[in-house]
């Protein structure tokens, strides 16, 4: 009735000196509605209690469980085993620090990226009077900001990125997405000159080779392609402006 699936999992525990990277196979029966979340937990419960992986919300909302599924980064919790071939290779996301098996330290990298790109609203007023009616904002503007704000920092875009594989300091599509988000936000006081300071070099927008694998793998379907292209044009025109104009803007 139900067909078996074999998961070949790349196992390696960098903390254990004796550990060597190896592929280990686990076979279990497919079931309707079974996701990789369910499958991996079943393996841990019944076959191998030492297997490491990360899940939190198991609903595609938190971005914890990105991994390479047959070479393509995706959220494991949203991957139905019925849609996979009968043998599948699971590997941790490349680029990020490996914790063990399928678990990687995206959080640490994301915090570093956030600090570097200052991914918080630079508001006009530090402490507004909270008793007062809020500042108005056009409904479409709010929606456009939210569109980019939906990023869950899962790391899929960086794992799929050609530049990131060569440059550890590349900010990746996730970084550009953040800048695009604050650029769209009328409440942010930063100018293109300010953003240029943050991403106007090869570790930023000029490092992007426009392969745009990021766009294809984004589990939230963010419009990365358009946003990155737009950001590049803006940054190019910044680069062409005399320095005075940048600061006087």
């Amino acid at each position: 009735m139900s067909r078996p699936i074999t998961l070949q999992i790349l196992r390696y525990n960098p903390q254990n000196a004796a550990s060597r990277p190896r592929l280990q196979s686990y076979t279990l029966d497919k079931a309707d509605g079974m996701t990789l979340f369910i499958a991996l937990n079943e393996i841990r419960e019944h076959q191998d209690a030492t297997l490491q992986f990360d899940f939190v919300c198991r609903a595609g909302i938190c971005g914890s469980c990105a991994m390479m599924v047959n070479g393509r980064p995706r959220l494991a919790c949203r991957t139905l085993v019925n849609e996979l071939p009968d043998t599948v290779v699971l590997a941790p996301l490349p680029f990020f620090e490996l914790i063990g098996d399928l678990s990687v330290n995206t959080g640490k990298w994301m915090r570093g990226m956030s600090e570097r790109l200052q991914t918080w609203l630079h508001a006009r007023e530090e402490l507004p009077d909270l008793r007062r009616i809020e500042e108005k904002m056009e409904p479409e503007e709010a929606e456009a900001v939210y569109e980019m704000d939906r990023c869950i920092e899962c790391g899929c875009c960086v794992a799929a990125c050609g530049t990131a594989q060569m440059r550890q300091d590349f900010v990746g599509a996730v970084g550009f997405g953040k800048i695009a988000r604050f650029r769209l936000d009328p409440r942010d006081t930063r100018t293109d000159g300010d953003y240029y300071e943050l991403i106007g070099d090869d570790s930023g927008v000029f490092g992007c080779m426009s392969l745009l694998a990021c766009h294809d793998v984004c589990p939230k379907s963010l419009p990365l392609q358009t946003q990155i292209a737009f950001l590049r044009r803006k940054m190019v025109s910044q680069a062409l402006q005399p320095a005075v104009a940048q600061t006087a803007n």
Binding site: E45, E134, F182
Partner: protein, 666 residues
């Protein structure tokens, strides 16, 4: 031994913990936060529908204010809430939404003019005011008189958490990710921080602090079917319980959400019904109006969940391989609305059910959703039993929600409590009386105790499997301590859980590795989870009445005379204990602004508290007096139950609305 010193230790990187951290940091204190996962992955991110705050911007919210929000909250709680806390909360919620707006949260905004909505199954045209254009919009939610739920499409929690988390980064607050608090360091009277474990390296060390905050979220994973994330295991609740000194309040109050998708339990937001979605049975019949003619699908969650299960019991469920379910129908809202306002719901339906909710009905059944019980605190957020220990958010029993929380009141509570408790922790640290020398020796003892315990566990040649014990516990909780409860089931549940707790002392671990080791983690957590589970079951067994989400088939009435009181659970200081000790904390009707009555939905009969009639007449007298004196709603409120002194000074003051300009209300 490694020891980190800080002023404020925040255990938990969700909305409550992070907002409190910012408050304390802004007041000049050193703050260190811990989280099991990167903070942006905390379960706050999963909140979809929205946050309640009485801004009254949309036309259906007109006339809304703190008073209405207060009444809705207290009725929702089935009078279990602390009314002082509820007042502090409703007055701060608008400030919290506005603060988040100023920090960048992309709240959905009001658009002037006509728009079509679905209300009670019918298309209705609403006209928004021109002057409201661009202000923060509200949607309808269950158990509320006005449209009060502010939202960011249906990704509210995500947007809020990212905003607050980015502010944490801006304020240079350090968050130790993948770090778990294992035990509180205390001397029986005062808390000095926590023993923590690095989940990557396995290192165990001490974080010492003047003030320690538990903001660890809920405990949904005690149940098999839950909307909660896998990290919602109640480990913060356990921190307090295991001190044996700081009790947990009302643990038997567990909320079940009407619309978990079936069978996975993943939530689809209450916003689906708020925006006009309907519940249907096997015949396609909309059944809620038969049970709840007033509020229909939008009665409070406890009521709707019970009605759904009742309807399934009557044979009206849809049979499936995994059991029975009902339908949630949002097709009538239309594709455009779903794609703009319910896009997470759409993604969830597509991915996990393979359906398009604009064309197909969604299979749903109630699932565990929210932990009303928590670390019992006073209105400042501090445990009255253990000085220096604070709690906020879902892990706390502050007690805003009593026996049932309203949708949208939880993320609101997290940021509001974060704002308030953050200030009080800062006050606490400012007070020179609290700058005692940190007892390093004590911390060492605690670290050694925890290390030894883990070491024993790791090498104990036990027979039991931690993962399987956990599954068994979840089955027992779902079967015996669910939506409908009775003496026999609960008694059975308690004995089963006691048996599992005993078994958990004999867990064996196959991988002896002390670093990143999921099996070891499961083993030490399941022991703690079982203590919480038995605390819930035992509290439910003792409470021989029905109140809010706690429903006893053998005692279907709310009984204010015997049970208008909060359950306090203490874990005995005895290695062999398998049951908590329960005490009760009475609620004082004589001081309530809103004495107990009918909720406006659900059962109409209840047993009155002897003090209720007297308090009601007193309130009438006060109301008449204030009216004759020409007093406004603020004067009346002040005369009935003054609360402003309980708020930190920086958070006092009225809230401006289009219809209530601040100039007239200084």
């Amino acid at each position: 031994m490694k020891t980190l010193m800080t002023d404020v230790l925040v255990v938990g990187g969700g909305l409550a913990g992070l907002r409190a951290a910012i408050g304390a940091k802004r007041r000049g204190h050193r703050v260190l936060a811990l989280s099991l996962v990167p903070p942006k992955r905390s379960h706050s991110a999963a909140a979809q529908g929205g946050m309640q705050a009485s801004l009254a911007n949309v036309i259906r919210g007109q006339g809304d204010c703190e008073d209405v929000h207060f009444e809705d909250t207290v009725r929702g709680s089935d009078w279990g809430a602390d009314q002082i806390v509820a007042r502090m909360f409703v007055n701060t919620a608008p400030k919290a939404v506005r603060e988040l707006a100023a920090w960048g949260t992309p709240w959905s905004r009001v658009r002037r003019g006509d728009h079509n909505v679905v209300i009670n199954g019918e298309k209705v045209t609403l006209t928004e005011r021109t002057e409201a254009h661009g202000l923060i919009a509200q949607r309808d939610f269950g158990g509320t008189k006005k449209w009060r739920t502010c939202h960011v499409s249906d990704g509210t929690g995500h947007a809020m958490l990212f905003t607050v988390s980015d502010q944490v980064i801006k304020h240079e607050i350090e968050v130790l990710e993948r770090t778990e608090a294992l035990a509180l360091i205390h001397d029986g009277e005062r808390c000095y921080g926590a023993v923590v474990r690095d989940l990557i390296s396995g290192e165990i060390f001490a974080c010492m602090a003047k003030a320690t905050l538990i903001a660890t979220g809920g405990a949904g994973r005690l149940y098999r079917v839950t909307t909660n994330a896998v990290i919602c295991e109640g480990m913060g609740h356990a921190l307090a319980l295991e001190t044996g000194i700081a009790p947990l309040g009302n643990m038997e109050a567990v909320q079940f959400h009407p619309t978990g998708i079936f069978p996975a339990g993943i939530l689809v937001t209450e916003g689906c019904r708020g925006d006009g979605g309907l519940l249907r049975d096997v015949d396609g019949h909309r059944f809620m109006p038969d049970y709840e003619p007033e509020k229909k699908e939008l009665a409070s969650r406890d009521v709707v969940s019970r009605r759904m299960e009742e309807h399934i019991r009557k044979g009206k469920g849809i049979p499936s391989r995994f059991g029975e379910h009902l339908w949630l129908d949002i097709t009538l809202l239309g594709k455009h609305h779903i794609e703009h306002n319910l896009r997470e719901v759409k993604e969830i339906c597509e991915t996990f059910l393979g359906i398009d909710p604009a064309r197909h009905w969604i299979p749903v059944r109630p699932a565990q959703h929210y932990t009303m019980g928590g670390v019992r605190t006073n209105p400042t957020g501090q445990s009255p039993w253990l000085t220096g220990l604070f709690a906020a958010g879902e892990a706390a029993c502050w007690d805003l929600h009593g026996f049932n929380r309203l949708g949208g009141n939880s993320v609101a509570e997290t940021v509001v409590a974060g704002m308030i408790v953050g200030e009080f922790m800062a006050d606490f640290c400012d007070d020179s009386a609290n700058t005692v020398a940190q007892p390093i020796k004590l911390a060492e003892e605690f670290v050694q105790r925890e290390s030894a315990a883990l070491n024993t566990l790791l090498h104990h040649p036990g027979k039991e499997n931690a993962f399987r014990l956990c599954t068994e516990m979840q089955e027992v909780m779902t079967r015996c301590v669910g939506i409908f409860r009775s003496h026999d089931d609960l008694q059975e549940g308690v004995s089963q859980l006691q048996r599992l707790l005993q078994k958990s002392r004999d867990i064996g671990i196959s991988g002896k590795h002390s670093g990143s080791n999921p099996e070891l983690v499961a083993a030490y957590r399941v022991r703690r989870m079982l203590k919480l589970a038995v605390t819930i079951a035992h509290g439910a067994l003792q409470r021989t009445e029905s109140r809010g989400a706690h429903f006893r088939e053998d005692f279907p009435q709310r009984n204010d005379e015997a049970w208008l009181k909060r359950t306090l659970a203490f874990w005995p200081d005895d290695r062999d204990a398998t049951l908590p000790r329960l005490e009760y904390e009475p609620l004082d009707v004589k001081r309530m602004e809103l004495p107990p009555g009918w909720r406006g939905y659900g059962a109409k009969d209840y047993i009155n508290h002897p003090d209720t009639p007297a308090r009601q007449s007193e309130i009438e007298r006060v109301r008449n007096r204030v009216q004759t004196e020409g007093g406004d709603r603020f004067a009346l409120q002040e005369a009935l139950m003054p609360y402003a002194d309980h708020l930190p000074e920086s958070l006092r003051g009225r809230n401006e609305r289009l219809d209530e300009p601040l100039e007239n209300n200084p």
